[in-house]
Amino acid sequence: MEALGINLPLLIAQIVCFGGLLAILWRFAYKPVMNMLDARSEKIEESLAAGEIVVQQAREAEIAYKEKIKEAAAQSQIIIDRASKTGEEIRLKAIEEAKEEAAIVVSRAREEITREKEETISALRKEYADLVALAASKVIGKSLDKKAHEALIDDVLAESISLRKN
């Protein structure tokens, strides 16, 4: 024991030294470092979880976004379809209306023409009758009574119409 140098007071002092170092390190190294390591791993775990959530949210948002775009496209297609349909309808309606209007105008014009023609014809006929009456009175030299007169006119007229037709 002597040769090795084992010495009780020194031994005890060394044990006390160990205790002292343990206490110092406990206070200044182990506790803060362990706390820090734990806090850090906790934080990393949290961040990872949070990151996971964010990624998930982003994915969901993307899906929702795509869905929206798809919907919007569908909606716009519908709107376009509807618009073109409406346009077509309007066009057809306008054409229809125009046609109707045209028909009305044409028929009115035709009526007018017919009316005018008839008026002209009746005026002509009247004049013609007067002329014939005058001519006849002049030729016969005598005035027919009214009844005979008109019968005569009708005869002439019928003759003239048949003549015209031929």
Binding site: C17, L21, Y30
Partner: protein
């Protein structure tokens, strides 16, 4: 490069080997390295009552100072995102903490960790500081009139490894008893259960069966006693493993410096650097392992033997 080569050659020539092999060379005296006289006990610088204040004890105090200073500086302003110094310190502490948690589990590992880590740091820094050039070069005259180094690595004084071994031993037994209970823990070493079963069989009429169980009971008892002895022997093996390695390393360095001074002795410094880490790891690791084994319930896994 040339200077290094020259120093290598001169160093070799100036050393003891060179002196023998090339005795005709005239090397100036100041280049000669004195013949070392290693001695095992630390030398007392002065006495406080019966307490010898040795150079190794001074080295212990310096180690404590250095380790504490590093710890305080590293953890003074702890940040979530650490700087280099804090990172390095956390790396070391985290390494030992990881070791403890790997071996003994998360909860128990944290119980063992402070003692294991202190042993690890203490042993390693003792050894590393002793390797700093100039550490053993300051020579003083003690009150006893002896010329000696002012500082000598504490690992090379048997009191230091022995104190660590005692601490480790006491803590291991304490953990073992507190975790498994006094009687259950002692039951690992003093195995009477075999006898109890055998005699119960004999007295309850099953004499044949009881007699057959008796030799097994003897063997179990004997194994228990061996376990107990190995527990005590651990104290010695712990002490001398560290003491032997460190003292041997120190003497190796001194002898190499004497035989082939300057450059050729450098590889042995590298060896001792490695040794500092390995011995610290072995001491801490074994303490951890034994502590864990001690806390296992008896008759669990068959845990015996000691790594050397």
């Amino acid at each position: 490069m040339v200077a290094l080569l020259a120093l290598t050659v001169v160093g070799f020539a100036a050393g003891a080997l060179g002196e023998v092999l090339l005795s005709n060379l005239d090397i100036p005296d100041w280049m000669r390295v004195e013949r070392p006289e290693p001695h095992l006990p630390g030398t007392a610088l002065f006495y406080i009552g019966p307490f010898p204040f040795t150079n190794t004890f001074l080295a212990t105090l310096i180690t404590i100072l250095v380790v504490s200073l590093i710890a305080i500086l590293a953890t003074r302003k702890m940040k979530m995102i650490p700087g280099r110094f804090q990172s390095a310190f956390e790396l070391v502490i985290g390494y030992v903490l990881g070791l403890c948690e790997d071996i003994a589990g998360k909860k128990l590992g944290r119980v063992f960790f402070p003692v294991v880590c202190t042993i690890f740091l203490f042993v390693m820094f003792n050894a590393l500081l002793a390797l700093i050039p100039g550490y053993g070069s300051v020579v003083v005259t003690t009150v006893d009139g002896v010329h000696t180094e002012l500082l000598r690595g504490a690992n090379t004084d048997i009191n230091f490894p022995l104190s660590l071994a005692i601490v480790a031993f006491v803590m291991i037994e304490y953990w073992g008893i507190s975790r498994t209970g006094f009687f259950r823990y002692m039951g690992k070493f003093f195995v009477f259960t075999g006898f109890a079963h055998a005699f119960k069989d004999i007295f309850s009429g099953k004499i044949g069966k009881g007699l057959k169980a008796l030799p097994m009971a003897f063997i179990e008892f004997f194994v228990g006693i061996l376990e107990f002895l190995s527990e005590l022997v651990r104290l010695v093996s712990f002490t001398f493993r560290l003491f032997g390695n460190m003292t041997g390393g120190e003497i190796l360095l001194v002898m190499m410096m004497y035989l082939m001074p300057y450059v050729l002795a450098i590889p042995f410094y590298g060896l001792e650097l490695l040794m500092a880490f390995i011995q610290a790891l072995i001491f801490g690791g074994l303490t951890l392992t034994f502590a864990y084994i001690a806390t296992l319930p008896p008759h669990g896994a068959d845990e015996k033997g000691e790594a050397h």
